[in-house]
Every structure is written in structure tokens, then in C-alpha cells.
Assembly symmetry: C2
Homo-oligomer: 480 residues x 2
């Protein structure tokens, strides 16, 4: 970030402060509230998304502080009371946060984060929480689609130069790694997060030498164990591949690679493979890049392209075909003076924007083979008892019922903050990446289709469904 933006506390929508100031003035700032973060649609109309970004959320909440220059900034606006400025001066987060661990497959409508905190605090978390998770969930989800399309071939994240800002590059590489990429081109993501960075040469390297052959030989001498030669600076099949073969032969390299970054990758890689094989270079791998995504990769593989690894750039790092993860953060309940939880609902004119009220938790139900059957959203004081058959029903169509038994129920959210104290240690990134792969393995193939996947069931418990119906039938009560 430029200038000295090291404290992101003010990365917050302005209305959070006008509201928080109002809560302070109205004596509501310490009223305990419950907010849920959830999302409404999976990017690319996919069957599931992947949770990512929690580690950054935890750090950012821990670091929320207002310094004197922030206070002065608010004072200069002329609309914030001194009481509020005092409140900011002593600010630290004192609430509870529950969240789904990184790498978990997540589905529309279920709370992936729940915040229980004094109203003004809960409000001031909104923007940073949403943007951090919206970004990383988006990229982890997209990366996973691309990795699945590559069907076992390595996918490198190559997109920094087209990322939407520096954090999009740095944390985008992190999210892509969680989603299954084997590494990144982004050096700082390796240094800071340990995501394996690699990269060999650009066209400029080739152009810097008198001949393409000279450029290749020099590179092979410098990096005999990891020479990946970019063969399309002039003409891939007529010049690049023959020069690469000559350079590998002349330097005695048998393990290395060539990279193609333009042209028809199915045709060129098949031809290049033939030429390499004919030269006895069977262990020279072929890396392909150039505006790839899950669909192009699948087509290339279907057409017999001879590609051992993919470098994927802008279409991954921006989730080009679906560049927004629409997570929202909505008030679900408030506590009254006696600590009773009063559920809250937002109705609005778009039915898709109706919220599910109450303090909630989510169970994921697995069958005996370990496959995920459904998620069930309950009120926080409910428990799912696996020894009792459970009737699931579609909350949009409650006559569609299914009774399950002999399942295993696992709570999805873990507690991350308790009374403002962090009570959660993030697993290492390789652990998160492994967990992600394993959890995706619990989903049915039907849910994993790229196009028109089967909708995974996210149901409400009977009590929660009834509560929501009652509040809808009362037409928002307080609003009328």
C-alpha cells in the first residue's frame, strides 16, 4: 500500500461510523448484537465455494485501533460527537467471533462467520471482514475449479501483474494455494506466506541475446536443474523448439521444460511433444500459459494437448468470469436488557434479500461413507443428535422431505474470538490446503460439476424455519 497505510482499521464504510456515533449518542453502542456473514450465490454458478481469508480476519480484528490522527480526521468532519471520539480512543474488540475454518467447502445461505459484539464494534468490523473474505473465498473457489480441470497436472498462479492491486496479488496467491495451486509467480507471497514461488524467463531474456539459441544455452548453463525455456518469442515450431532441443542437447540437460505462451496450445504442444520425443527428450516437460481458465484447460486436455503443467494468470487472479464474491453481513439478533436474544429479520422487496433471523450454528451431515449429505442451520441452542433420524426439508418447499439416519454431524463454525481474546490458531497453509482437498473429496461429483451442478442441500431446522415463517407472516412487525 502507498503512503503509510499499515493500519487498516479505517478501511471501513463511512456509514459504519455515522451509525456507531449514533449508537453512542442513543445509548445503544454497548447493546449486544449478532451479525452473520453469508453469501447468496456461488461464483460461476458453481456448486460450492471455498472458505479462505480467516487468518487475515483474525489479525485485522486483533489490530483494530484508532490513533490520534484518526480521531483528528473524524473531528475535522464536524458531525461526530466528542463522546464518540472518546469511544474510538479506547477502542478494542471485545466480542465473540465464530467462523468456518479455511479450506472448508461452503454453500449459499449459511453463516460462514457469526459476530456477537456490542453494536458499534460489530458494525465497524463489517467492511474489512467482508472484503477480506469476499476476496480470498473468490480466488480460492476459482483456483479450485481450474485445478480440478487440470486433472492432476500442476497449476501455477501467474497473475500478479493483472491483479486488482497489490493485496489482490499477494493474498490472491495465498487463496489460490488453498484452492489447490502448486505455487505462484509472486515472490513476496513466498517470502511472507511460504507459498512456493517459481519462474524462469520472459521473452525479454530471449531478446537480450544475439540469437535465441544463445539465450537458451546461457539459461541452461545458469540453471541446469530447472531450465524452462520460453519458445515462442519468434516462431515456436520453426525456431523456438528446435533451438531449445539444441540447447538442451549441447548442455547435456535431460530434465527441464519448455513453455508456450501463445498460439493454438493444443496443436503446438502436440507438435512440440513429438519433436522433443524424437530428439530423445522425453523428460522435458511442456508448460502452457495464455489466458487459461477451467474451460480452456478442459478443452485442451480433451483435444489431446501435451501439457504437463499450466500457468494461469488474469482469469484466476481476478476470477475473470465471475469477479465478485457477494458475501454480506446482516444483523440477525439483538439482546435485550436481560440478555434474551431477540431475532431480527430484513425483508425488503427482493425475496432473495430476506435474511434468516436468530443466533445460529450450522451442522454438516455426512453419511457412513463420509460423503456430505446436507448442511443444517439451527438455532444456537439446538443440537443435532445423530442417533435420532432427522427429517430434512427444503426451506423454499417444505413439503420436499427426506429422512436421514446413521449420519455423522459436524459443527461447521469454530470459535475464533471469545470476549475479544483470540482463541483460535490458524493451521499452517499446507495443512489448510490438504484439508481443503480432503473436504472437497466429501462432496458428490454432481455438486462439483462446472456447469449446472446439483444444488447441495442447506436446510433450516424445524424450529428455525418456524421462527422465520412467523416473522415473515408478521410482516416485519417493527417496520409497520
Amino acid at each position: 500500500m502507498s503512503k503509510d497505510v499499515t493500519n487498516l482499521t479505517l478501511l471501513c464504510d463511512y456509514y459504519e461510523y455515522t451509525m456507531a456515533n449514533g449508537y453512542v449518542e442513543a445509548g445503544l453502542s454497548d447493546r449486544i448484537v449478532y451479525f452473520d456473514m453469508f453469501f447468496r450465490n456461488v461464483p460461476d454458478n458453481g456448486g460450492f465455494a471455498i472458505m479462505a481469508g480467516l487468518e487475515q480476519i483474525v489479525e485485522r480484528i486483533e489490530n483494530m485501533r484508532f490513533d490520534e490522527s484518526d480521531i483528528e480526521f473524524f473531528r475535522s468532519k464536524g458531525t461526530f460527537g466528542e463522546k464518540f471520539l472518546d469511544y474510538l480512543r479506547g477502542f478494542r474488540f471485545t466480542g465473540d467471533v465464530y467462523a468456518v475454518p479455511e479450506g472448508t467447502p461452503i454453500f449459499p445461505g449459511e453463516p460462514i462467520v457469526t459476530v456477537r459484539a456490542p453494536a458499534a464494534q460489530a458494525q465497524m468490523l463489517e467492511t474489512l471482514l467482508l472484503l477480506t473474505l469476499n476476496h480470498q473465498c473468490l480466488i480460492a473457489t476459482k483456483a479450485n475449479r481450474i485445478v480440478r480441470a487440470a486433472d492432476g497436472r500442476g497449476v501455477m498462479e501467474f497473475g500478479s501483474r493483472r491483479a486488482q492491486g497489490s493485496e489482490a496479488a499477494i493474498l490472491g496467491a495465498r487463496a489460490a494455494y488453498i484452492g489447490g495451486c502448486v505455487g505462484t509467480a509472486c515472490t513476496i507471497s513466498d517470502k511472507v506466506y511460504g507459498i512456493p514461488a517459481s519462474g524462469t524467463m520472459a521473452h525479454s531474456w530471449v531478446q537480450m541475446f544475439d540469437t535465441e539459441y544463445d539465450a537458451f544455452v546461457e539459461y541452461c548453463r545458469l540453471y541446469p536443474t530447472n531450465a524452462v525455456l520460453l519458445v515462442d518469442t519468434y516462431n515456436a515450431l520453426e525456431s523456438g523448439v528446435p533451438n531449445a532441443i539444441r540447447a538442451f542437447k549441447d548442455t547435456g540437460i535431460t530434465k527441464g521444460g519448455i513453455r508456450l505462451d501463445s498460439g493454438d496450445l493444443a496443436f503446438l504442444t502436440r507438435k512440440a511433444r513429438e519433436m522433443l520425443d524424437a530428439a530423445g527428450l522425453k523428460d522435458i516437460r511442456i508448460v502452457a500459459s495464455n489466458s487459461l481458465d477451467e474451460f480452456i484447460i478442459r478443452d485442451l486436455i480433451d483435444q489431446g494437448a501435451c501439457i504437463d503443467a499450466f500457468g494461469v494468470g488474469d482469469r484466476l487472479i481476478t476470477s475473470h468470469s465471475s469477479p465478485v464474491f457477494g458475501g454480506v453481513y446482516k444483523l440477525a439478533a439483538v439482546e435485550d436488557g436481560e440478555g434474551r436474544i431477540i431475532p431480527k429479520i430484513k425483508i425488503s422487496n427482493n425475496t432473495a434479500k430476506i435474511t434468516t433471523p436468530g443466533f445460529k450454528k450450522v451442522y454438516r451431515l455426512f453419511d457412513r461413507d463420509g460423503k456430505a449429505i446436507a448442511d443444517q442451520i439451527c438455532l444456537a441452542d439446538e443440537t443435532v443428535d445423530p442417533s435420532v433420524p432427522l427429517t430434512l426439508f427444503d426451506p423454499q418447499a417444505p413439503w420436499k422431505k427426506k429422512t436421514v439416519s446413521g449420519f455423522i454431524a459436524k459443527e461447521l463454525q469454530v470459535q475464533v474470538f471469545k470476549g475479544g481474546r483470540r482463541v483460535y490458531d490458524s493451521p499452517s497453509l499446507p495443512e489448510i490446503r490438504r484439508y481443503c482437498e480432503e473436504q472437497i473429496g466429501t462432496l458428490w461429483d454432481e455438486v462439483k460439476r462446472f456447469v449446472n451442478p446439483q444444488e447441495y442441500y442447506v436446510d433450516l431446522s424445524q424450529r428455525l424455519w418456524q421462527l422465520k415463517q412467523d416473522m415473515l407472516n408478521n410482516r416485519a412487525g417493527p417496520g409497520d
Copy 2:
């Protein structure tokens, strides 16, 4: 950014370092090279883009440094020589940079930045330069489309929560402001860059009170000069607008606003306008938000929606319909031992990826009415003499000629670094914003169409065109 990522020097593709290490080893690191940044397509297939992000580029180049932990990181990789690590230890940028000022309309194929520097340095700028400009040019261009669609009504940038990371939010607000937005919801962008932030209430404010009316009255009392009431928490026309009217009346407010964030905005705003007018509240403005972009805004206006200002979120801050600005950075020339400039070309299998060789500059030609006629890319030692008629021709179809005279020629790039020293002071953001509006005023309406705009002419000088043809006819010489 998380952890302590305050130095972005390593936000750099790994291959820049493998190449730079190679240049050091091969004795090429101090060879002077010329790189151009240019882009190939305007986002959304628009007629022009807007330059933005130069101020951050300048800061970032000035701050490029490798500290001991960076050196140690490279050493741990085992493939970088000590000579290179020494080189990094003393690194500072010593080259020249020329760039198009922020706010300028820019077109495909023309160099918007030109770097003349020792090879290893020029290489290490690539990623940071591209990502910074690609991001801000993208958002400024998109914002400007939306602002033009709004046709004089204010557009607020509201997208932080859906931005791709924190810098995308913070600098995205800056770029949106350059593109013509009147302000942002992002508080930190106001504090750091002075972009006017504003915002009033979310649905949660309304839900925090016993009744919607109570919530509105409390807000009106707190902010009597800037009360914008969100009227769609429960039911906009049956509850929200009537409660807002009652609250305005009861608190004596005649200047303020209501905001609608869901439902059919054309219908709801017309109805709301009628209700406000019938209540004598003609100076209560209507603000609309909810997944808006230039096309929806234009349709709403065409359908008689009564909207005074727009809040635009994810579709602006991610440039949703076209989320990548494809700027590239390509070697154009190298100097030989005697300081002679040797042009370089990249040919490749995709003709769209062929580069224009040589050290170049760009002129924009204006007619007597101040309208931009064409841009002409020349070799750096050429000058355009406005007193002599100039024959322009399409570089793709050189028989299509046009002779112009009596024009004004303006060089587009300014020098930003000279021998590593910054020689450019960025104008203030309001100045950049004004300049942008004024420069867009020099474009013909045909170029400004949202769909299928007239292509603006970007021509090559006769000498440059001939040079490129000769190099193409020689089929890349060095590669064969």
C-alpha cells in the same frame, strides 16, 4: 496488508529475479534497455481508457530496496549467485521513466510508460508497474463509463466490501474519483487521499430500533443537515417512504434524502418521488443503489426513474463486466556498447502480440476546435511539425491515408525519472480529476459510445512503420 508487508519491492514475478541473476552472471545487467508499457484492448470494448496510478508508481519505484531478510530469502533458494545478492544489496533505481499523466485518455498500442534503464533494473520494475497501472486504469475507465451514463447525477463509489483486497478498495476509490465519481464510502481513502467519503445508514440501523420510524427520527435528530434514510428494510412504499416522510416532517427537515437499495428502482423511485412531492418534500433527494452499472443506470434514466444520485458498488470496484486491464511491458530496444539504440521486436504466433520496436514517443494531434484527431507514435528522435501537413495512415492498412494540417501536436508522455531521480510532481487529485474531464471533452462522441465505439486512430510515423515492416520481413532475424 497483513503481516508486515510495507515494502512492496518483492511484489515481483520470480522470473524477473532468475533473469536478473542471469544478466548479472552474463555481464548484461548494466546494459541499457528500453521497455514500453502498453495495452491491447479497452475494457468493455470501449473507445478509450483513462490513465491512472502514476503517483503510486513513482512512490514505489523510489522506494525499491532489498533488505537483509530479502537477501536471505534469495540465498535460501540456492539458485542465486552471491554476485547477484551483492547487486541487490546496493540496489536503487538509476534509470529514466516517461509516462502519460494521470487522467489522460489512452488508446491501445501506444506506450503509456517507457522505461530506459539497466536491464536487471528494468526487469525488476515490471510486475509492480503493471499491476499498479492495470488496476487503476481499469477502475478509472469503468468509473468514467458509469459517471457518463449518470449524465450529471452524482456517482458515489460504494464498493469496498466487494473489492479484491484492501488496496483494490483504497486505490480503487482513488481511481474512481479520477474517473469522475464524486466521492467514496471508503473512509481511509478520504483520510489518506482526501477523496470525500460519505455514508449514512445500513439496514442494521433501522433494525436496531423498535420501529422504523424511531430509527429515522433518531437519525434525523443526529444529522439534521445530512439525513439520508434507507427506506427498504421492510417494505419501501408501504413502510419506508411513509415513515421517512413522517420523520422528516416531525423533525422539520426539508433537505435530505432517502435511499433505495432493492426492488425495481425505476418504479419505486417514481412512486417515492410522487409521495415526497405530495408531502411537500421537493428537496428530499433520492439515492439509488443495488448492482448498478453504466447500462442499468442508462436504462433507469431512460425509463424516467427519479434518481438524484447513484451509489455504485461491486460492478465499479471490480469492473465486473471486464475485470482485467491487459497492460503489458515489452522490450523495445537495447543500447550497444557505443550507446546506439538497437530496436527489438517480439513476433510470436499471435499477430496481436507483435510489438512495435524502438525508443518511441507519442503525439496527440488536435484540430482547431480542440478535438483530438489521432495519436501518432514516432521514434524518439522524430518531431511532428504542425506547420507541415501530415499524412496519417492506418498501420494495419497503410493505403488508408488522411492528410491533416493546421493541427496542434502535444507530446503525451512526460519525464518522471531522470537517472533515477524523480523529476515529476504529481498534480493534486482534484486537478487530475478536472484534467481528466477536460481531456475526455476533446474526444468525439463517436469514440465515447458505450457499445461499438468508433476506433480512435493510433498511427505510426512513416519511419517507425518502415522499421517495423523491415524487422517483420526479416522474420525476427536473431531468432532464426
